[in-house]
């Protein structure tokens, strides 16, 4: 199979960190705070690498949008088994307002440029909980989507996806190319091994700007305020 898979990986504040709101209430504190790969993105990378190990896809490309620091996240994906990375440079104010609509436009453009056959994303990011990027990307590309996937099976050029929905499990069959978003029980992400971490150093990360892809990253949304919820009654 000559399929190429794009996997989106987002750098988010680590799940175990206690979040603090900035005093000016424009957002949360990110300076000096531990960041790591969004857990659902880890599951997405694991699924892509598994497909490659089963020889059902040929190449796994990890993509992340953001400033210089997201290269750490791409390197983690490379250490888990992705073949190469693409860093879409977005920084400063643009990065603060970067949301699912702009990211999905970037992914759609990259999918065409890289001639990808499959895009696997995490179902949502743990910082904004939007759960929109996968769906928007599929819509922009006019590709079928298998969201909240807890099982993915590649059968020739069709994808069987078992989805976790409110009523239970739904199994659908979609044509490739397609977008899949990973849910919690899709797999258990592997640990990177020490040798793979060292090999990842040699794998390539190419830099690209949104303008090169013809994408406008300006946001149509304006954050008015970010506040901490008042605590519920304490014992």
């Amino acid at each position: 199979m000559s399929a190429r898979v794009l996997v989106g990986v987002k750098r988010v504040i680590d799940y175990a960190v206690k979040i603090r709101v900035k005093p000016d209430r424009t957002g949360v504190v990110t300076d000096g705070v531990k960041h790591s790969m969004n857990p659902f993105c880890e599951i997405a990378v694991e699924e892509a690498v598994k497909l490659k190990e089963k020889k059902l896809v040929k190449e796994v490309v990890a993509v992340s949008c953001g400033p210089q620091q997201v290269q750490e996240t791409i390197r983690t994906a490379l250490a888990m088994g992705a073949d190469r990375g693409i860093h879409v440079e977005v920084s400063g104010k643009d990065y603060e307002t970067l949301g699912p609509l702009q990211v999905s436009k970037i992914f759609a453009a990259l999918a065409k440029k890289e001639q990808a056959d499959l895009i696997i994303l995490g179902k949502q990011a743990i910082d904004d909980d939007c759960n929109q990027t996968g769906q928007m990307t599929a819509a922009l590309l006019d590709w079928p989507q298998g969201t909240f996937a807890s099982e993915v099976t590649l059968e020739a050029d069709k994808l069987k996806v078992v989805r976790e929905i409110d009523g239970g499990l739904e199994t659908i069959k979609i044509n490739l190319p397609a977008v899949v978003t990973a849910d919690l029980r899709l797999n258990t992400p592997r640990y990177a091994t020490l040798p793979n971490i060292m090999k990842a150093k040699k794998k390539k990360i190419t830099n690209v700007k949104p303008a090169d892809l013809g994408v406008d990253v300006s946001s149509r949304l304006e954050v008015l305020k970010v506040e901490k919820l008042k605590e519920a009654g304490r014992i």
Partner: protein
């Protein structure tokens, strides 16, 4: 009071009872809301941060949930260690051509420090195993390296380091286990004491006397389990380090092929000491991990426990105590990492720096863990709380691989 206990207990058990679901577990040992000052990833390269991350994740998911059980039931966690070996932790500073990961001493220190937060005793054993694998890799000829190292790096086989005897601890060069040459075998007679892993491991790196008295008469041979004349004493009952068995190793006319000797006759003591330089950094790194975990546990407890109408975290005295603990932790970490760099660069001060690091760090980190236990109050004394296990487990680090009382003597001789 009961409700507060329940709140604290809930926090504790949450990290112990839930199975592995990497995304969403609240693991109090892994709370990365750490003040930037004690963050162990400061000053590391991106690659080292990756190594550290894997080690921390492995410790949190595969070791920490079991550390109490391994301690109480005295289980030697073979499966968990083999999983660690699959990630490359079986021969961290062993050459890749025989299955090792080929990393530096600093990388190794970082990895053991992180793993130790999951279980000090198991990590300490893994470090001893690594030391043995390195000795064979560095001082063995190609046949010996190819025979032993691949299995050790994958932890298909486990190793033990045999130097100490009932009559020779700090005075290691006065060891009595004899190895008399008979044809193409050495016949070993004598016994070793306090051997980590003894009886459960497969490969024994043994320092024995082939020549005259003193260090120059000592050679290093590799003895395999199952060799006739090799037997073991009873399993010792210890205060800590309970996830690794400790036994005497007894040689009674035990015939070992001459081809199992590492290096030349008379080089054994030097090989043993070189192994221990790295071993000291590893043990100190394990102490660092325990201290790091204990500082976080103390901090968490202070945020939850209320006395005199407010949480302990509002007590200025305890704030100062925590700051002192953090300072000692960072100072210790810097010293160990410097010693690791000195060793990997082969600097002339490497040996004394390793001894100084071991002396300073094991003492300071024990004080930190002990202080953390104190902060927990009565709860710190209960086995339901991890802090007491860190205290018990790292107590022995001040004793083995260079009793701190003698380390200061040696360090003073060097200056």
């Amino acid at each position: 009071m009961a409700a507060a206990m329940a709140l604290v207990r809930g926090v504790r058990f949450g990290s112990y009872s839930i199975g592995r679901s990497r995304s969403l577990i609240f693991n109090s040992l892994q709370r990365r809301g750490i003040a930037a000052c004690v963050d162990p990833s400061i000053g590391l390269t991106d690659e080292q941060k990756e190594f550290q991350k894997v080690a921390f994740d492995f410790a949190a998911n595969e070791m920490a949930p079991h550390m109490a059980e391994w301690d109480q039931k005295e289980i030697f966690p073979v499966e968990a260690m083999r999983k660690a070996a699959q990630l490359g932790f079986g021969g961290i500073y062993v050459n890749p051509d025989v299955g090792g990961s080929g990393l530096s001493r600093l990388d190794t220190s970082i990895i053991f420090e992180a793993l130790s937060t999951g279980c000090v005793s198991t990590t300490a054993y893994i470090s001893i195993h690594n030391m043995c694998a390195w000795m064979i890799d560095t001082f063995g000829n190609n046949e010996q390296r190819e025979k032993f190292c691949p299995d050790l790096c994958s932890m298909q086989k486990f190793a033990s380091y045999c130097l100490t005897e009932p009559g020779s601890g700090s005075d290691a060069a006065s060891l009595l286990t004899s190895a008399k040459l008979q044809g193409d075998h050495y016949i070993l007679n004598g016994s070793k004491a306090f051997i980590s892993g003894g009886g459960d491991t497969d490969v024994y790196v043994v320092m024995c006397r082939t020549g005259e008295k003193g260090p120059k008469g000592i050679s290093c041979v590799v003895v395999e389990k199952g060799t006739a004349g090799l037997s073991f004493g009873k399993k010792e009952k210890k205060v800590g380090w309970n996830s690794q068995p400790t036994r005497a190793v007894i040689f009674e006319d035990c015939a070992v092929p001459v081809t199992n000797r590492l290096g030349a006759e008379g080089e054994g003591f030097s090989i043993a000491m070189k192994g221990l330089n790295g071993g000291r950094i590893n043990i100190a790194s394990c102490s660092l991990g325990a201290a790091h975990a204990s500082v976080l546990l103390a901090r968490d407890h202070m945020c939850v426990r209320k006395q005199f109408g407010e949480t302990l975290s509002n007590s200025q005295f305890l704030q100062f105590k925590l700051a002192e603990m953090a300072t000692k932790l960072v100072a210790s970490r810097l010293l160990v990492r410097q010693a690791a760099v000195a060793l990997q660069e082969g600097r002339p001060d490497a040996v004394s720096l390793c001894s100084m690091a071991k002396l300073f760090v094991t003492d300071e980190c024990f004080a930190i863990c002990n202080q953390a236990l104190q902060i927990h109050g009565g709860y710190g004394y209960l086995k339901d709380y991890a802090v007491q296990q860190y205290v018990r487990d790292i107590r022995v680090h001040q004793i083995l691989e260079g009793n701190d009382f003698f380390s200061s003597w040696f360090s003073s001789k060097i200056s």
